[in-house]
């Protein structure tokens, strides 16, 4: 084979690879954009006037009028405030309870050596419990105690349901830390509380933050308990969104602007957690 043909063959192979890569790129981006389209279109429609939004169109003259209208609506603020309360306080308490518990489960020496695993499994099984299983007693209690009209009742339910998720995720991040550090700290006279706050939490910081963000997303999006355990003054954003269900095809711009406000924070927080999400949720299970 002469040198020239060899170069030609190499060039054809390279060209074929290039074409394959270009086609693959186009395919991947095409699918990704089509998949994301409903969210993208919602985001765009928020910048339309109601007249513009009636018929589907991607190109239009954008206006901030609809957002201004939605944000000047005091009920929207109320829902937003309620949701923020649930997310901040609920996530805070879930972390406050879940992080020390996972520390005790990973590094603690409980009465029986097998207790650690048993308690951990107990937390995991509570994740399986669907909220319908607790709704009826909670609803009857809350009505008697008038907790329906305060945010605290719902918040307590959220803490109960999301602490196990914190335990599950943070457990896998704590398990990555070498146990020797804590033995050494123990010998140096470091109390358990100091070991937790000075060593474990700083070392597993990113994992704990991601667990917190994921729980925040879950609480922000939670509908079933939020819908059934709140009254008008305490309802959260998902409940507000569900009230749009009767208005078929009307107020598309307003609907889009409101849902953008409801959806965007969760998507952004979620994107920030994606790496930890896979690790925290699957590690224990994948390793079996």
């Amino acid at each position: 084979m002469s040198e020239k043909t060899l170069v030609q063959v190499q060039r054809t192979i390279r060209m074929r690879h290039l074409w394959k890569k270009i086609l693959m790129t186009a395919l991947v981006y095409g699918i990704a954009i089509a998949y994301f389209f409903p969210i993208l279109y919602m985001f765009l429609s928020g910048f339309k006037t109601e007249q513009q939004a009636v018929m589907p169109a991607i190109f239009f003259k954008p206006t901030l009028e609809t957002y201004r209208k939605v944000l000047s609506d005091p009920t929207m603020y109320q829902y937003l405030r309620n949701s923020l309360f649930q997310v901040i306080v609920g996530t805070g308490f879930s972390l406050l309870l879940g992080v020390p518990a996972s520390f005790a489960l990973v590094f603690g020496r409980l009465k029986h050596p097998e207790s650690n695993g048993k308690f951990y499994l107990w937390f995991i099984t509570t994740i399986l419990l669907p909220p319908v299983a607790v709704l009826i007693p909670l609803f009857t209690w809350y009505q008697q105690l008038n907790l329906i009209n305060t945010p605290y009742g719902l918040m307590m339910a959220y803490v109960g349901f999301h602490t196990p998720i914190v335990v599950w995720m943070v457990h896998s991040f704590f398990s990555d830390l070498p146990g020797e550090i804590f033995e050494a700290a123990e010998i140096d006279g470091c109390s358990k509380l100091q070991q937790l706050t000075r060593i474990a939490i700083p070392l597993a910081r990113t994992g704990i933050i991601s667990a917190g963000l994921l729980v925040a997303v879950f609480i922000w999006n939670e509908f079933f308990l939020g819908f059934n355990l709140t009254g008008n003054p305490t309802a959260t954003l998902p409940v507000y969104m569900s009230r749009f269900r009767e208005q078929q095809g009307m107020f598309v711009a307003q609907l889009s602007a409101s849902s953008t406000i409801a959806v965007l924070p969760a998507i952004i927080l979620g994107w920030m957690t994606q790496k930890a999400l896979v690790k925290g949720l699957t590690m224990g299970a994948v390793k079996g």
């Binding site: 409903p38 669907p130 319908v132 709704l135 009826i136 007693p137 509908f223 609907l255 979620g270």
Partner: protein, 296 residues
């Protein structure tokens, strides 16, 4: 002894709160399910009636009169099962696609993950008004442009609509987990596959799929746990209708409490929802354990 005390001090608050908010109410639900208790009849005493509430749903008196419960159970299993099937098959294909080295592939991955974090009530109303609507939505406009008559999908194919929306929301999670599995396959294995002349199909189904089977099972298990309790999306899209054709178990519990005011029957349904979840999870979990035993 002293250190052991602090360990329990770390552990106990979480256990107490979780038990009070989840396990204790569940036990009460089990007790309620044996009571005759109607909220709209406060004059009637709450009396123990054994398994009557369960029998109301389960008893088949004649084959012409099969209780509604069985169709609701079937709808729940159908919606969850088909969604999980679509998520795992299409999700695997898309994960393979996203596993390529393409400029800016992370942007594409991030975009596809988006729907997973959208609250179900918002995705329900958005799809219903901007896509499925026969006059104002993309579906209606495109169908008319193609010369077809758009039908109201939400009322004619309620289960299909719910499955599409559930899949849209959950497939990103499958892609995320499966992609993590695919990227965990060592590069030298992929290289040696290429050198040995393994065809693309063989590589995917005989080597890659078995290697990430545990990721697949984990995704299916989590998907199952979360899908079986989904409520908001059904409420905003079909509201269980037409009739009870798109009821699922959680939706039926909600209707029993807030529409029929029947605490006893609602509790019985809630308990059966938990039993169904546990049975399905157990079946999946066993298949994971069995597989691990075989490979280790």
């Amino acid at each position: 002894m002293k250190t052991r005390k602090t360990e329990y001090r770390f552990l106990m608050p979480a256990i107490v709160v979780v038990a009070i908010m989840t396990q204790f109410p569940f036990l009460l639900t089990v007790i309620f399910s044996t009571l005759r208790w109607n909220l709209s009849r406060p004059d009637l005493p709450r009396t123990f009636n054994g398994f009557d509430n369960y029998l109301y749903f389960l008893k088949i008196e004649s084959l012409q009169h099969i209780p509604e419960f069985f169709s609701i159970l079937w709808q729940t299993v159908l919606i969850t099962g088909v969604t999980l099937l679509l998520c795992s098959v299409v999700g695997f294909i898309l994960a393979l696609l996203l596993d390529h080295e393409i400029p800016g592939v992370n942007i594409a991955r991030t975009l596809m993950l988006g729907p997973f974090f959208v609250m179900s009530t918002a995705s329900g109303v958005i799809w219903k008004t901007t896509i499925f609507n026969t006059t104002f939505g993309w579906y209606g406009v495109i169908a008319k442009a193609l010369g077809a008559t758009p039908v109201d999908l939400v009322s004619y194919h309620p289960i299909g609509v719910i499955i599409v929306l559930f899949t849209w929301q959950w497939m990103p999670f499958f892609i995320l987990v499966l992609l993590a599995g695919l990227q965990g396959i060592p590069q030298d294995l992929v290289d040696s596959m290429r050198i040995d002349g393994v065809s693309w199909l063989q590589g995917v189904f005989k080597i890659k799929l078995p290697l990430i089977m545990n990721h697949m099972r984990v995704a299916i298990m989590l998907g199952l746990v979360f899908l079986i309790k989904e409520f908001g999306l059904i409420l905003v899209t079909t509201a269980g209708g037409p009739g009870t054709r798109s009821y699922t178990l959680p939706y039926a519990v909600y209707m029993q409490v807030f529409s029929a005011n029947n605490v006893g029957r609602a509790s019985a349904l809630a308990v059966m929802t938990v039993v169904l979840t546990l049975i399905l999870v157990n079946l999946l979990y066993r298949s994971i354990v069995k597989r691990n035993a075989r490979y280790s």
